[in-house]
């Protein structure tokens, strides 16, 4: 069924590319049809960036087609299908990116229902649209790739509008409330698995299901009367539960844990028995995650002729708890030695906040050539910028997992109105946001899992109509 949808989607996209002839938007009986296809290539040194980029990968693409129509003066309907791939994320499954009914009461009040693009920062709504920006990869400090589908679109309802402020410019606002379908094989699930604090003890998790309780997002942009200057702030919040399979990797279990498990053998009777009698991975009682995340972003964009300057700061606060009563109760003696408190089979992680910021500059030298650069800094925990605490707690073996500093340089070539080629280089310091699933533990214990200093190169070709 999925492959049939994929074939239908690609056929429709290809047909539209051909029919539109001059590659402009195609209109059929009042329905506007537009689309895009991007194909990229990623190559990195030392670390894998959300795909097997050390070997070079072309599993990096996006394609979308949208249909929209104005049913009346005030009512607009639209739908966009999207397919994307980034390593194990997306895999070119066709998804409903957005599908909306939009009623425009006044300029200061509109209502949107359906599956809307998620408002966050300056560029989240357009992050799938390679053709409207200079960079291939948005700064990871504010637009983290692992969170991408979690904050791509929201199912529910939203209010929006533009309010004139006379000599002060105008205000644009968006308020959205609803839920999000999060797949267990996407980036958010992988990120959650990386947050599991017992990896170094040989305890692993594999997220099976995520159930989002609620999501909200809000954004205000002040279009100031200083020409080209926009100031904004946005927020979003999430609450979800996840179910995960818990695995014991017997090859990595430390001695004290073995003793604890042996002592608690009654609780695990028939499940693990003598560890060495089983394979390398044993399934234990399932774990549950409870996650609350709240994020705030401050934004600034300044356009002056062919120059675009942008700067954003984002802070996200997490409340996470892990529940696995049989396992945690048994391990309580071991965990308490590490300062981890178990209460009613639940471990609550101390509330922590990640933080990041970037500044970017882009200049269009000619109608066909644009150059851009940005500097982006991200800290996985703003109270542990040097990563020492996370290593001390056993969350990670390497301190540079605590930050990611990225200097990027991009060239964009507009071959013609519809074709764009981009080349981009990143000099990276740190390895925060990289996923363990993409960077497995090396077989040689003397080899480091991650390298602190590394480079990432990206190339992308986009066609749109």
């Amino acid at each position: 069924m999925k492959s049939a949808v994929k074939i239908a989607f690609l056929s429709a996209l290809f047909a539209m590319c051909c029919i539109s002839g001059n590659a402009r938007a195609y209109e059929y009986q009042g329905i506007d049809i537009r689309g895009f296809i991007s194909q990229g290539y990623l190559q990195s040194t030392d670390n894998n960036f959300f795909a097997e980029t050390k070997d070079g990968t072309s599993q990096f693409n996006e394609a979308g087609i949208n249909f929209s129509a104005e049913v009346s003066d005030r009512l607009r309907l639209g739908v966009q299908f999207l397919s994307r791939d980034l390593g194990t994320i997306g895999n070119n499954e066709v998804i409903l990116d957005w599908a909306i009914a939009d009623y425009h009461f006044r300029d200061w009040l509109g209502l949107t229902v359906g599956n809307m693009k998620f408002v966050h920062g300056l560029y989240n709504e357009t992050r799938d649209l390679d053709m409207v920006r200079t960079f291939i990869l948005l700064p990871q400090s504010v637009y983290i790739e692992a969170w991408r589908e979690a904050i791509s679109s929201i199912q529910g309802a939203g209010l929006y509008g533009d309010i004139g402020l006379s000599d002060m410019g105008s205000l644009s606002y968006d308020l959205q409330y609803g839920t999000v379908n999060l797949d267990s094989d996407k980036g958010a699930a992988r990120l959650l698995e990386d947050q599991w604090p017992f990896k170094e003890m040989g305890l692993l998790v594999d997220v099976d299901r995520i159930n989002v309780d609620y999501t909200y997002a809000g954004s205000i942009r002040w279009i100031t009367n200083l020409e080209g200057l926009i100031l904004g702030c946005s927020t979003w919040g999430y609450q979800f539960e996840a179910d995960a399979t818990t695995l014991l990797d017997t090859a990595r279990v430390p001695g004290e844990l073995r003793q604890a498990l042996a002592a608690g053998d009654a609780a695990f009777a028939g499940l693990i028995g003598s560890l060495d009698d089983y394979g390398t991975r044993i399934i234990l009682s399932p774990s549950e995650f409870g996650v609350e995340a709240v994020s705030y972003t401050a934004s600034m964009e300044f356009m002056w002729r062919n120059l675009v300057f942008a700067a954003e700061y984002m802070r996200t606060t997490y409340n996470i708890e892990f529940r696995n009563s049989p396992l945690f109760t048994t391990l309580e003696p071991v965990l308490s030695q590490s300062g981890v408190a178990v209460q009613d089979g639940t471990i609550k992680v101390d509330r922590f906040s990640s933080a990041g910021y970037y500044t970017s500059l882009a200049y269009r030298f000619t109608p066909w050539f644009e150059l851009g650069t940005y500097y982006s800094v991200y800290y996985a925990n703003e109270d542990d910028k040097d990563g020492k605490k996370r290593v001390a707690k056993g969350l990670d073996a390497q301190e540079h997992r605590g930050w990611l500093k990225d200097i990027a340089l991009t060239t964009r070539f507009d071959v013609n109105e519809n074709w764009i080629i981009k080349l981009e280089a990143h000099k990276m310091d740190g390895t925060a946001i990289l996923l363990g699933a993409d960077n497995p533990v090396p077989e040689d214990p003397a080899e480091d899992r991650y390298e602190e200093d590394w480079y990432l190169f990206a190339a992308k070709v986009t066609f749109h109509f």
């Binding site: 506007d32 425009h104 150059l371």
Partner: protein, 151 residues
């Protein structure tokens, strides 16, 4: 991957910057602004607009005239008149304006304005479409259009 690639990228960037300056593709900085006038359909219930209002209209933030009539946008696809109008009244380059509307369309937020190859086509569309507003060089003005004063 070896880091030999970096000098290659640097060379490409440098070559493009040099081409930009000497290759004849640079934006005409010394171009004198053409006499662009803002025109509207006779049904439009205003005689003048502020510059800010023109900007809000052409960015889709103001969508109705004072009598409730829907504003219909008409733009030129390219050319000096298009570039001058956007610079003077919208505060964007043609590329930025195009990107703005692509963003609106591909995120479900709006419908891109009708764009015309020639001022004559645009004039005819505005003249025959209630609520329409556009811009023209003075030479393309037609009598049936209302000229809006920009304050």
């Amino acid at each position: 991957m070896k880091l030999r690639s970096i000098p290659l990228i640097a060379h490409i960037v440098l070559a493009c910057m040099v081409l930009s300056v000497f290759g004849g593709f640079i934006f005409p900085a010394g171009h004198a602004a053409s006499e662009v006038m803002v025109v509207a359909n006779d049904s439009v219930p205003v005689e003048s607009l502020s510059r800010d209002a023109v900007q809000e209209i052409f960015l889709g933030r103001k969508t109705r005239w004072s009598d409730g009539q829907k504003i219909v946008l008409a733009t030129l696809k390219e050319g000096d008149d298009h570039r001058d109008f956007l610079r003077m009244y919208v505060g964007k380059t043609p590329h930025q304006f195009q990107n703005y509307w692509k963003s609106q369309v591909f995120t479900g937020r709006g419908k891109a304005p009708d764009a015309f190859t020639s001022p004559d086509e645009l004039a005819e569309f505005v003249a025959n479409t209630p609520g329409a507003i556009g811009y023209l060089p003075q030479r393309a003005y037609q009598n049936q259009l209302k000229i809006l004063m920009i304050e």
